[in-house]
Symmetry: C3
Subunit: 177 residues, 3 copies
Amino acid sequence: MTFVVGGCRSGKSGHAQKVAEAASSTRRVYIATCIPHDEEMEERVARHRNDRDGNWRTVEAPIELPDAVTAAAENGNVVLVDCLTLWTTNLLLSPEASPHINRYTERLIDALDRSGCPVILVSNEVGAGIVPENRLARLFRDVMGTVNQRIAAVADEVIWTVAGIPVTIKGEKRPSA
Amino acid sequence: MTFVVGGCRSGKSGHAQKVAEAASSTRRVYIATCIPHDEEMEERVARHRNDRDGNWRTVEAPIELPDAVTAAAENGNVVLVDCLTLWTTNLLLSPEASPHINRYTERLIDALDRSGCPVILVSNEVGAGIVPENRLARLFRDVMGTVNQRIAAVADEVIWTVAGIPVTIKGEKRPSA
Amino acid sequence: MTFVVGGCRSGKSGHAQKVAEAASSTRRVYIATCIPHDEEMEERVARHRNDRDGNWRTVEAPIELPDAVTAAAENGNVVLVDCLTLWTTNLLLSPEASPHINRYTERLIDALDRSGCPVILVSNEVGAGIVPENRLARLFRDVMGTVNQRIAAVADEVIWTVAGIPVTIKGEKRPSA
């Protein structure tokens, strides 16, 4: 399992896609966690979708990501989850899911443990700026940082991206991807 | 002297504590720079305190950190300062200390130079987001960045943390901690 | 071509200057992209200028950076561009240039390709904090991240700075600079 973490527009998704495409040329599953709320996000989603070729199947899992990973790993040769940041946002904003984020994270880790194919997960680093004035934003930074730490702890490989450059900070440096 | 720097919830404090506990099993001194202003911060302080075992003694030094480091290094086998970010905030918000931040930083560096035991310092990276609109926040970013640079310059080892993964960016990579 | 990227007050400019001064002791050209709008910025510009010795010539290129790089590379032995963040800001805020930022970036890459002397470029990482509430700030993060990725992709060497420590993330680690 590979975890790719970096700032906004740091090349996370592009690098994660390369890792996934190097892992298998067929039956790739892309799990989108995004619920597009406005035109700005819809454009971003469409742009990302156009970057993927026909060997990708896209499924949407804004909340029930653990089950989606399990299903995708059964039917696919490689699974790409993009991204944990929107998933965490969706959990925080859902009145039903919000009190159970730790449980969701544990279920995701279980699903990753049991998956029989490579899974690549993408997430944002959101904690390296000034402390936000908004209390919800501070809560989100804390929760997101905790999710990132737990996923990185169980990942075989952690890659940090900056300015499009992937830097392997945990696990073996792969030769070419 | 080891300096651990990273974003919010990046695993800084946890890693710094591991480094300190590897350095000595007895007479560990934890220097808290925090002045808990509200319930949110009190909970965070209590959570951190519960993470430390009985071989830790806690002292508080919101402003007079240089003297606290000197005293702690005389009485302890290892000193952990958590964190320079709150210390810098306290200095900036103190009418007496605010004009003398450079002098405080020099006194801290002197105290670190003279300390006869390992000292581990924790600080936040706060400059990798968008320029804040608030002028005090911009000033804080500048001052914090300068303090971080000066401490990193004299540290034997600088560790940057992201998603709970420690990355040694200055000094020898320690085998196990 | 060397690209130095890091957060605010992370030691980017200082390190870039060292790399430039190691590359040539004479005919160094500093390209400032800054348009000082207020006293705060004027002080910062003057402070940076005082850090450079008499072997530096300073030119200003808030918008027409590609042409300035070409001219500087013809007349100088080393060129330092500080910084792409202010250049990108100037482009975004210019009604004439704003629709053509991709074209400006391509022209800059062409100018770097054709330059016959070392060029060092400095830029900010701005995407590792919380998503800004302001739409222009979100647009700026996206555009800045894209410019950083494109320049890093063509750079021989990419250096990421944190707390004043330079970390080479692409290219050969130079022995001393």
